[in-house]
Amino acid sequence: MASTSPPITASEATPNTTTKSCAKCRSNPGTFDSRGQLVCRTCFQKFISAKCIKQIGLLNKDVRSSSSSALSAYHSTQKNAGPPQASSRRYLLGLSLGPSSAALLELLNENVEFQLGKGRNAPFELVVVHVSSEGGGENQRERERVEGTVQRMRERYPRFEFKVVYLEEVVGLETIDWAGLGLLDFSSSPAGDDNDNETTSKAQKLRHLFDTLPSTTSRTDLLRLFTRHLLISEARKNSCHALLLGSSTTALAELTLSETAKGRGFSLPWQINDGILGVPSFSPHSPSTINNKTEDNGILVYHPLRDALRKELVQFTKLTDPPIFDMLPEVDPTATAAVVSHKDLSIEEVMVRYFADVEENYPSIVANVARTTGKLLRLFGGVDAEGNKDKAEEGSESESEEEERLCGLCNMPLDEFGDERWKGELGEDSYRDGLVEGEGKGEKMKQRICYGCERSVRG
């Protein structure tokens, strides 16, 4: 999430007020407003750090616990990647180069340094991946700019591995059901040699796809999903136990409301909570029968900054020495300026603007949104995680194998029961009555991608 509320200088207390001492340590002068309290710089940093370390602790435990035995089994089956040592956890951080993920990178580095300074082993290895939607294909100048930024990060955090992946690499990924989307030419070629020509054409294919999408919201949505696919793919390639995302409380609240508005309420608990997510394969060349069982073939996705507000993280990146904030690409100032045409906004942008407002005045309400949404149950197609059938879904003919079917685009569980009921409530395709004429191919797609993804692709 690159766009943020205007630079947070507002939370710095005005100097002319009589200097109060920090509400926490009571020794230094309180110069930062942290959730209604005046605190000093050190206490503010500690506060943010504590929120992150707590989540990392939970993750470290999760990786050690039983749920990871299957993961280790998965990793041990991968070629050239021996089973990870019990002591060496390996994580992948998705670095968008926005303030939140940059803050997470800094915090993870602090954590490692701290442990090393104590004479302990590093708690984990970290691979940092930036997925770039710019500089696709031939755009050399953009490429250099992106690589330059990442190179400066690499120099700042020499302990971690850094990598840039371009969005066009999503073309051919087997975690997306290209055939089901009617994009057969996006499937991976069996030969799989990546010469320059092919890279260009991948970028062209992708640009063409984006050009044909029905709206800005659809484009933003697919950009997010593709980025996620690439991060998960990199995590698996690099034998990582978990994917770490820098999403702040604010970002999770935005995600909650925008996914609700995009019709993906069903999969929200999968998206908002931390835990293991299934990773399907739709490869036509894959000889093995489709096995979507999450336990055998999934990845842990964690949001260690889920308890920090975005404005706090922006502040945090300005306080590090030297400030990482200055290393980040500038956010387009027009993003927060007056909107020329509301129609060209995406749903995500609307939510970002909305929560920037709410965050300013009601931070706890923002935090509460993600927290309560997280209480919803994670279900598979009307069946909950323990395999109990949804009360109302008795006598459906779905085979047990199908219970874990995942959407061919967002990879979230499909809600077959919900789809069925929705059809009943609204009448078959009543939304499109009189809108689309003679479109036959849609019918099959419905079975393979979720309601929200269908909306994104078809409008």
Partner: protein, 406 residues
Amino acid sequence: MAPTLCAVCKTERANIKRPKNHARVCKGCFITLFEEEVHHTIISSKLFYPGERVAIGASGGKDSTVLASVLKTLNERYNYGVELVLLSIDEGIKGYRDDSLETVKRNAVQYDMPLKIVGYDELYGWTMDQVVETIGKKGNCTYCGVFRRQALDRGAKMLDIKHVVTGHNADDVAETILMNLLRGDMGRLARSTNIVTGDDSSDVKRSKPLKYAYEKEIVMYAHHKKLDYFSTECIYSPEAFRGSARALIKQLERIRPSAILDILRSGEDMARLVPGESASSCGCKGNKSKTPTTAAAEDDGGIGGCGSTGAAGGNEMAAMEKQLRENEAAEGQGLEVDVSKLSLTGKPAETETDGSVPLKPKANSKPVTRQTLGNCKRCGYMSSQEICQACTLLEGLNKNRAQIQI
């Protein structure tokens, strides 16, 4: 350029762009489509049975007027065999309600339906104007909403009717879903998506046949059918959560017209994911387990009672923010040793005195509140509390009045 033809009949000129999906249709086809969609909702949710007496909660506004008109049309077209009655509540708001009631009276003649008007003054001894005089404009919508819910039930009882239909539209429901997400109220979110609240076991059931109808289409329908309705909004309008959610919905609709329906879809699906809530909101799929929805008419999930807004008072968001902060502070108070603080300074963490680093137990611990129904000890009305909301509010009001008189 030849005029675009209607996508449905392909003969008439398409002079309407449906707000719902931007389909281009002619006036006649729009009216038919709109009615047929409401019919589909009624049938798929099995809202009525032949011979049933149904009260239409009629405010004189566009939603309830369209509801009355469509129900009358469909009842005749499809022989529902339903007996329709108009039921109006007189809140006692001068300059708003007295005029709209005149509209309802005309509607009663136009649609040839009996009309019953119940006043707050006769039910509670207070008109809304008097309430506002006493407590001010802030928070008066709480009173109005609570009073109205009961008033409709009591009115229905006077008429010996067990089913009240209301004019809530898709925008209202979507708004309520977003509002309850913002409030973090999953129990209410689940209930608000139900097309029917209350059931056979409670006295009066409520349903919203226009649940899937877009507000803009309702306005269009009223316009093209030349319906007689009253279009002033209530003069006592609040901001807060509902206003906030409403503004969002309007923005989303502009960007992607389907967003309102998509929010409904999300809300219905999420309702199934709320721990402990009953599964389905529609009757079309063999619901063998008739678990009574504990949320009866007393609480329909926070759906606004009045056409315009209807949230609790003005500074609702600020109040909630305060509450949440207090909770956080309380939970953080010395519950856990903060191991994580070691990291930054290398010094062991000082003991926290102010509890400002809230280390909560894992988020999932607080259960979603459920309701069990009983009757109010004071007025005998169904309530999940010992004393129903209306009586509690009345008690406060009456105390106030007594003091003023002294």
